[in-house]
């Protein structure tokens, strides 16, 4: 299991996690955005590996994939970004998030080697569930990389046990049935679901999907171990494509605000 992920959750306080697509809107700006986010004290970063057919994502993240791919982002560029961040920060956990074809295409062995070499701590693969992930799980484990599992509102008790059996790092609770960047969850339902999961595991539980602003972060972080914010940051990118300086500045203000909203 990843030492960095373990360590961050040993530190007191709820964790703020961001998602941005690697290479959106272009490689350099993408790196600048990540640096800004990290400088604002974000605890864990998720970097999206852009894919042509992101079936679990809403329009915001779909468009960010399109922008990144249109600028020629390749899987090796994502590893390049990771290496660049590692040079600046040896502690922050880095998670790659994406679709299985990106990994399968490179080869599981090759992909996980590159993850280990560049300093990736975890993987979230939205279209890969325990039934199909044994090969990636084994290779990841060998290399100290956590395969972060997703739990959703439709996951029943039997599946929960299956999911938890090889889970490591932390658990990612998808707050709504749907795609990214859409509706927000009902807080009471969400609280109940998180508590149910908590009774079956000691792993930290973070919540993602539909968490949009400081208010959501404040509320949801009271009963989870962390929250993920993605589409809202990507919307800032989209709205400021013509002015990179303004884009970075707005992301700075936004992530700072989110961080202040997190419960200690």
């Amino acid at each position: 299991m990843s030492k960095r992920i373990k360590k961050i959750f040993e530190i007191k306080g709820k964790k703020l996690i961001t998602f941005t697509t690697g290479g959106d809107p272009d490689l350099n700006t993408s790196l600048e955005i990540l640096k800004t986010i990290i400088n604002n004290g974000i605890d864990i970063i998720e970097i999206g590996m852009p894919f042509s057919d992101p079936m679990a994502d809403g329009p915001t993240i779909q468009e960010s994939s399109v922008r990144s791919l249109a600028n020629g982002t390749k899987i090796n560029d994502i590893f390049e970004i990771v290496m660049n961040i590692r040079e600046l920060n040896s502690e922050i956990p880095i998670i790659l998030m994406g679709y299985y074809n990106s990994i399968f295409n490179l080869g599981i062995d090759n992909f996980t080697s590159k993850c280990a070499e560049t300093g990736v701590d975890g993987l979230i693969i939205v279209d890969l569930q325990p039934e199909e992930d044994s090969e990636l799980f084994t290779k990841s484990k060998e290399r100290g990389i956590d395969l972060i599992r997703l739990i959703t509102p439709t996951t029943d008790h039997k599946r929960l046990i299956t999911i938890l059996s090889n889970a490591s790092g932390f658990l990612y609770y998808v707050t709504v049935t749907g795609i990214t960047g859409q509706n927000s969850a009902n807080i009471e339902d969400l609280k109940k679901s998180v508590n149910t999961i908590r009774s079956s595991t000691k792993l930290p539980i973070v919540a993602g999907f539909g968490i949009k602003n400081r208010n959501d972060v404040e509320q949801i972080s009271t009963f989870t171990d962390g929250v993920v914010v993605g589409s809202s940051i990507i919307n800032i990118i989209k709205d400021n494509l013509n002015d990179k300086y303004k884009m970075i500045n707005k992301i700075k203000i936004f992530t700072k605000d989110l961080k202040e909203g997190i419960k200690e």
């Binding site: 894919f51 042509s52 057919d53 992101p54 079936m55 679990a56 809403g58 779909q62 791919l69 390749k74 899987i75 679709y99 299985y100 074809n101 990106s102 399968f104 295409n105 490179l106 939205v126 279209d127 890969l128 569930q129 039934e131 199909e132 599992r149 997703l150 739990i151 959703t152 509102p153 439709t154 996951t155 029943d156 599946r159 999911i163 998808v174 049935t177 749907g178 795609i179 859409q182």
Partner: protein, 403 residues
């Protein structure tokens, strides 16, 4: 009797045909897909279900479809005896309804209240809209913006049947993207919605389920050809996009080792042009839309846009069972270009008085080319899987004819 190493027993319990197939979807969909599998396994051996399905197939779809001896084409090609399995005569004009009827009956049993589907040429959309009207369920069809333009008669038919058409403007704006959008809808409305997938692809159990519902084609052919010729055919030929009509014809005969099978992919502007939809001839294995199969994709694993004049074949993937049959070399995969398909389309109109869809025109184009290699005592069955009414505007445009 079960035959050892029978090709008809696949997939395995995890949904694999060799190394292809499986179940690659988001966790939100997993419980539902497992439930679809469970319910499907139940109805497979349920006589009441079979009775109900047979009833609608006979009285509503119009099965069995005829097996027609194409005398003039046979004479003209001066080769084997050519038969057409006339699935274009089904209600709604294609083989698609065989599968839709099966799936809607399953959806009803599962108590689902809302039906979604993707469509390329519109044939699957029309068939889905039809069965939804028949059983009084709301129907939402996702269709690429590009396909809405080139298949306008089918769009109007679906609307008449009460379906809501949602135009998909992402990616290549055709079948692949319609399927992405349908999956996004499904994951959002997972509780009350049943997704009727139109081809033998997607997460397990869809590839097996769609194939099984389409297998009625081959089962009828076996009986009909024995009646007509007192023996089995030597060659079966069909077009493939996702591959459901081909599997429908082939599956029944997979263990009849002496029967040759050819499936015809869409070569678009030509395989060397890069603008085609021939996933097996020009692709490599990958994961998309819930299954592991051959896909057209870049070196970096991004899915390529397919091209074919036929909206129904314009898809960068193929059902996983075909990927397996390809690697096993049980089926031979060939291709026909847009141009060859249009020629075959006209040829069939003129010689047999049948306006074929552009999809089976691809199969006929290959048959025209290879017929000379077969002697006159050989028997070929081609699946005429759809009629061409929907394609007349595309053809007119290609031939520079103003309607």
């Amino acid at each position: 009797m079960t035959i050892k190493n029978s090709l008809k027993q696949l997939p395995n319990e995890k949904g694999y045909f060799g190394s292809f197939g499986g179940r690659y979807v988001s966790e939100t969909l997993m419980p539902l897909i497992l439930e679809v599998e469970k319910e499907y396994n139940k109805i497979k051996n349920d006589n009441n279900f079979k009775k109900e399905l047979d009833h609608y197939m006979k009285t509503y779809v119009g099965r069995p479809s005829p097996l027609f001896f194409a005398k003039r084409i046979t004479k003209d090609l001066n080769g084997p005896k050519i038969y057409f399995k006339r699935d274009e005569l089904n209600h709604t004009g294609a083989h698609k309804i065989n599968n839709c009827m099966g799936q809607i009956l399953l959806a009803k049993r599962m108590g689902k209240k809302r039906i979604i589907a993707e469509t390329g040429a519109g044939q699957h959309g029309v068939a889905t809209a039809t069965v939804c009207a028949l059983f009084g369920l709301p129907c939402i069809v996702y269709m690429g913006e590009k396909d809405i333009k080139r298949q306008s008669p089918n769009v109007f038919r679906m609307k008449l049947l009460g379906a809501e058409i949602r135009s998909v403007t992402t990616g290549s704006k055709s079948l692949k993207d319609a399927m992405n959008e349908a999956l996004r809808d499904w994951v959002t409305n997972v509780k009350d919605t049943f997704y009727i997938i139109g081809t033998a692809a997607g997460p397990h159990p869809y590839p097996a389920m769609v194939r099984d519902f389409q297998s009625v084609i081959g089962e009828e052919v076996r009986e009909q050809i024995l009646d007509a010729e007192n023996r089995l055919p030597d060659l079966l030929i069909a077009c493939i996009g996702g591959g459901s009509n081909a599997l429908g014809l082939f599956h029944e005969f997979l263990d009849d080792k002496q029967i040759e099978m050819i499936a015809v992919e869409a070569a678009g502007h030509g395989l060397e042009s890069g603008a085609h939809a021939a996933s097996l001839s020009g692709g490599k294995p990958g994961i998309l839309h819930g299954n592991k199969t051959y896909l057209l994709q870049s070196q970096d694993g991004q899915i390529d846009e397919a091209h074919s004049i036929s909206a129904g074949l314009d898809y960068p993937g193929i059902g996983p069972e075909h990927s397996y049959l390809f690697e096993q070399k049980r089926v031979q995969y060939m291709s026909a270009t847009d141009k060859e398909a249009i020629e075959a389309f006209q040829y069939c109109c003129n010689l047999e008085g049948i306006i074929p869809a552009l999809e089976p025109s691809h199969a006929l184009a290959v048959l025209k080319k290879i017929a000379k290699h077969y002697s006159k005592d050989k028997i070929v069955v081609m699946n005429m899987c759809g009629r061409g009414d929907k394609d007349i505007f595309t053809i007119a445009e290609e031939l520079n004819i103003k309607l």
